[in-house]
Structure formats: C-alpha cells, structure tokens
C-alpha cells in the first residue's frame, strides 16, 4: 500500500516537472524530450505581442514658429443676423511651439434694438479690435487639440444714435424731444479667456471660448453711455461672452 502511494507521488512529480519545463522552454520538434530546469527571462526577450506606434517614430520636431491660424466666430455672426446685437469677427493667431498663441481679433459690431416697454431705440455699427495671447495647457502637443487660457485687451470707438418718445414735463405741461444722433463713445476693456479647440480634419479645427470681460475705461457723449459696445457686448461694468470658432491651421 505504501509502495503504491510512493509510486503515484513519483509519477505526479514527474508529470509536474514535465509540464513546467514545456511551458518555459520551446518544444523542439524531432528532438528527444527531456526535462530542463526553468530559466529566468533575459532582458532582450519579449513575451506576447508588442505594438510600436508608427507616428511616434515619424513625429516632426516642434518649431518655435509652428505656423498661423485664421478663424471666424459663428456665434457672433448668427447674432449679427438675428439678434438685437452681434458681430462679424475674424481672428489671426501665431502658433509659437504649440504653446503660446499671440492673437489678434478684429470685427464689426452692430446693434439695432428697440425696447418695447420704454420705446427707446439704439443703433450703432462700428469696428473693434482685441489683442492678447493664449497658452495651450494640453500635454500632448501632437494631438491637434488644444486647451486654452488667455488674456485680451479690447478697444472700440463708435458712433451711435438714440431716440425715444418725447418726455412729458408735468411741471410745465410741455414735451421735450428725445432724439440724439451721431453720439460718440470709446471703450477699453480686458478679457479672461478659456477655450477648447478640437482637430476635425487635417488643418480644420473647431473650438469655443468663454470670456469674462471687464471694462477698464470709457468715454461717451451726453445723454449717456452706449447700450452696446462692439466686441464687448451689452454695456456694463463687466459681462460674459462666448465664441464658437471655425479655424484653419496654416
């Protein structure tokens, strides 16, 4: 009984040793099979399937002057056509090493608005300009996608018309005209910009930005400040804005 158990254990040990050896060493066909001790894998040996991305080897170096980008704002253009105010805006960016993007934005702002409650009407059409720079926070500079943070300084000079119903003077019973034309104003403001940009096809990108705008200085004629400032938006101490850009990477 004891010898039978000993034989079974010996047979099992031999089978286990054979299995281990066949897993660690290649089986050579037509060669006498023999049990070999297990060997640790050497550094130049690779198990499994290794993939090597072709673009990592073919990536061109990033130059200081990587190129230029031109784009237009779709949101402003749609608002230009359908809303009380809007702007046709284009932009030019210089791509410095895919990190820094000095930016020039220029456009034509327009407003033709009437308030139904007060009867007041405002009209203007004037150009504006913004200069600044963005920084690309994206880690992968080869992906074509960009995450922006940036600053702008904007300037607009405009002429505007303002009119409304006559104002009744209860003390005298007379009515004063409320009609002013060719009033002049200028405004300087700054913007904090955050934006995303995604590569669609080759050189074509789409992107959007959200902006916090703070007015720094303005001058205007009596009777008061313009209701809308081209490039800034509805006039107040600060405001928010957004753009949706179609961009071509030159």
């Amino acid at each position: 009984m004891t010898s039978t158990l000993r034989s079974i254990c010996l047979a099992c040990s031999l089978l286990l040793a054979l299995a281990t050896a066949s897993a660690q060493t290649p089986v050579r066909r037509n060669a006498p099979q023999q049990v070999q001790p297990a060997q640790p894998a050497s550094p130049d040996r690779v198990r499994g399937v290794q993939y090597v991305q072709s673009d990592t080897t073919a990536r061109p170096p990033i130059r200081t002057l990587q190129g230029f980008l031109v784009g237009v704002d779709v949101v402003g253009a749609v608002m230009y056509g359908v809303a009380d105010y809007g702007q046709l805006e284009g932009m030019l960016r210089i791509n410095l090493a895919e990190r820094w993007f000095p930016t020039l934005e220029a456009g034509l702002g327009r407003s033709d608005a009437t308030n139904e409650d007060t009867g007041l009407h405002f009209k203007t059409s004037a150009p504006y300009l913004r200069v600044g720079a963005d920084y690309n926070f994206c880690k992968n500079l080869y992906s074509g996608n960009r995450i922006y943070g940036g600053l702008r300084v904007g300037y607009a000079k405009q002429n505007y018309d303002l009119d409304g119903p006559g104002v009744h003077d209860a003390l005298t019973g007379l009515t004063a005209d409320y009609r002013f034309s060719d009033l002049q104003a200028s405004c300087v403001w700054t913007e904090l910009v955050f934006g995303l940009e995604a590569k669609m096809w080759d050189a074509f990108h789409v992107g959007w930005t959200v902006r916090y705008r703070k007015r720094l200085n303005q001058r205007f004629d009596e009777p008061g400040q313009p209701w809308y400032v081209p490039g800034f938006g509805k006039n107040s101490g600060h405001t928010f804005g957004a753009t949706f850009n179609l961009i071509i990477d030159l």
């Binding site: 308030n115 003390l171 007379l174 409320y178 928010f240 753009t243």
Partner: protein, 167 residues
C-alpha cells in the same frame, strides 16, 4: 460621443450665462434736495411751521404743508431754464409767501434701453426775491438760501440749504 456632447453643450451654457440682467437704478427720482438750518446757530432744524411750495406761475403744488422735517425734495422742470417757487408758510394767522428763483440747465440722461429716460440738472443760481422779518403772526422767515451742490441727479446729495430765522 460623451466628449463631443460636452464640447458642444458647454458653450451653449456659457451663452446662457452671458445673458446679463437689467441693471436700472432703483431710486430714479430726480429733484433738488433742500436741507433746513437755523440762521442763528447753523444747526440743522425741523420746519417749525407748515410749509408748501408752489411752482409759479401755474400754481402747481410741489410740496404740501410739510412740517417737522429737516429736509425735502423739490422737482425741477426740464423744459425751461428757470423755476420760480412760492414758499408759503401756514400759521393760525393765515398764509405768507416768500419767493425764490432757481436757475438751472437741463441735460437728458440715458442709462439703458430698459430703464426709461430722465433729465438731470445743474443749478446755476438761486435768488431770494422777497426779504421779510419774522413777525408775531408768521414767526418763521427765510434768512438766505445757498447752493451746496449744483448737480441734481440720482445721487440725492444736498443741493440747497435754506437758512431760517425765528422770532
């Protein structure tokens, strides 16, 4: 797909956030703020007798029997450059009027399309047309009236000081 939706929806949310609210001045009355002081001490005092102010020549009452107040506001017309006030004192003996002329310029003010219109003023002169002494029947009289701040607008600063003499 989720990234694409996020990419497209975020700017839409930003556009909604970009809609700013109307920011009109809540207290949008414009008038000359007058404070009452004693000519003897220079200290602020309450009106000892009832006072009405009537705009001449249309006899429009712009302050009606005010009493025991140290300051009040009077409207100015914006279709003429000069307003003439009759300051009428009411006592048990009857009424007694003093006349004051206020010269001013008028300038329209625009704040926003949503806020309506207003006219601001700049005081260019004030003159007391009648000079009388306090009497037993009318113990309060105007000693003098001076311009403190010529700008009449939403700020509601003190524009005129009315110095009163008492019997």
């Amino acid at each position: 797909m989720r990234s694409l939706l996020l990419f497209l929806l975020l700017p839409a949310l930003a556009l909604l956030a970009g809609c700013n609210d109307t920011d009109c001045t809540m207290d949008n009355t414009v008038g000359v703020r007058v404070v009452v002081r004693s000519s003897a001490t220079g200290a602020e005092m309450n009106l000892p007798d009832a006072l009405s102010v009537v705009l001449q020549p249309k006899d429009t009452v712009i302050l009606n029997r005010a009493q025991q107040i140290a300051a009040f506001t009077l409207p100015l017309s914006f279709t003429q450059a000069e307003d003439r006030w009759a300051l009428v004192w009411h006592t048990e003996a009857g009424q007694q009027a003093d006349y004051v002329t206020v010269r001013h310029t008028n300038r329209p003010h625009f704040e926003s399309l949503d806020c309506g219109t207003a006219y601001f003023h700049t005081l260019t002169g004030v003159a007391l047309q009648t000079q009388r002494r306090p009497s037993a029947d009318f113990p309060t009289a105007i000693d003098s009236i001076v311009i403190n701040n010529p700008s009449v607008d939403y700020a509601h600063d003190i524009n005129l000081t009315l110095y009163l003499s008492r019997l």
